[in-house]
């Protein structure tokens, strides 16, 4: 049985969305002050993209435009607090994030290997800290640490990971 038009359209949307989702997420994350807000806006972006998919000519620039508008709308709807950059910087970061897709894709691909290079305890901590629903104060208590010492340790782990993925990128550019 051949798929109906809706099924075909749905499949096409999912293919395009899956191919661009990580880049869109980084783009939205760069505009918003928290991971949680970025995840919420991404859900709205996904729904809006699907609802208006039939009006899209060129998916990628259109999707980035929708994501930018929705992230800006979210920023405006929130009481502006001290953790939000001004519009000029938010827009500049968004512009540059959109041009760094290739670089960020390479870094994401390198991340799993870089995680494996970490000592097991650090790797588990990094993944635990990023698991949905994890509370840093509870994680710190479980590990017999203060939240601040846990944050410091996570900072060192993230920095090590970033340096590792950046090194991978440099090596790939040389070859």
């Amino acid at each position: 049985m051949s798929p109906s038009f809706d099924d075909a359209q749905h499949n096409q949307f999912l293919r395009l969305f899956a191919a661009n989702e990580a880049a869109l997420h980084t783009f939205v994350r760069s505009m918003l002050p928290s991971r949680q807000e970025a995840a919420e806006v991404m859900q709205d972006v996904a729904v809006t993209l699907w609802q208006k998919f039939s009006s899209a000519d060129d998916f990628r620039p259109w999707a980035f435009g929708v994501a930018r508008n929705m992230a800006l709308r979210h920023l405006r709807s929130q009481a502006r607090d001290r953790h939000v950059f001004d519009d000029e910087l938010v827009n500049r970061l968004a512009d540059e994030a959109a041009t760094m897709e290739e670089r960020h894709l390479t870094q994401r691909e390198a991340l799993a290997a870089c995680l494996q290079k970490l000592p097991a305890m650090q790797r588990e901590l990094a993944l635990a800290a990023y698991t949905k629903g994890t509370r840093m104060d509870e994680l710190a208590t479980q590990r017999g640490q203060t939240p601040m010492s846990l944050y410091k340790l996570l900072q060192r782990i993230r920095q090590a990971l970033l340096e590792c993925v950046r090194r991978t990128l440099t090596q790939e550019e040389r070859t």
Binding site: L14, A22, H83, A126, Y130, Y151, Q155, L161, V165
Partner: protein, 148 residues
């Protein structure tokens, strides 16, 4: 004092850990320095990628545990059942037939043990391919074929 940008950007990532003065300093520096903006965006990308990896690890962990449990439980049970069946048939034969007509039990046990040792292992579940968390929210049915 020289600013540790890695530290300040990461404190910004953790939201509540920056002061107004630090946010203003970070904002001014980001506007002025393209390299710092690239570092900031790399950290944002890392933040998103770690979240995705942690989510994927969460998806994978449960089925792996289930698989281990199944593997530990079915094979000894199957072996025990085979042994019980063999012992019962052996006991029946011994009780009904004269010594001269007994089958070669040692050979039977050996061949059965060999057969048990060669029981096929359960197929390993393939690691899931990239699972789009948002696509899953959109249409869980789409992910059904990817179940492992």
């Amino acid at each position: 004092m020289k600013t540790d940008w890695h530290e300040l950007i990461q404190r910004h990532l953790a939201e509540e850990l920056t002061t107004v003065e630090e946010m203003n300093r970070l904002q001014a520096a980001l506007k002025a320095d393209a390299k710092l903006r690239a570092l900031f965006l790399d950290y944002m990308n890392l933040d998103v990628a770690l979240g995705a990896l942690a989510g994927a690890a969460d998806h994978v962990r449960a089925p792996q545990e289930q698989r281990t449990y199944r593997w530990l439980s079915w094979r000894p049970l199957a072996a025990a059942a085979a042994c019980v069946a063999l012992l019962c048939s052996g006991a029946l034969l011994l009780s009904r037939k004269p010594l001269s007509t007994r089958p070669d039990l040692a050979a039977t046990f050996a061949s059965t043990e060999q057969a048990i040792a060669h029981l096929p292992a359960p197929p390993l579940a393939p690691l899931p391919e990239w699972i789009s968390p948002t696509a899953a929210m959109l249409d869980p049915a789409v992910l059904r074929p990817l179940k492992f």
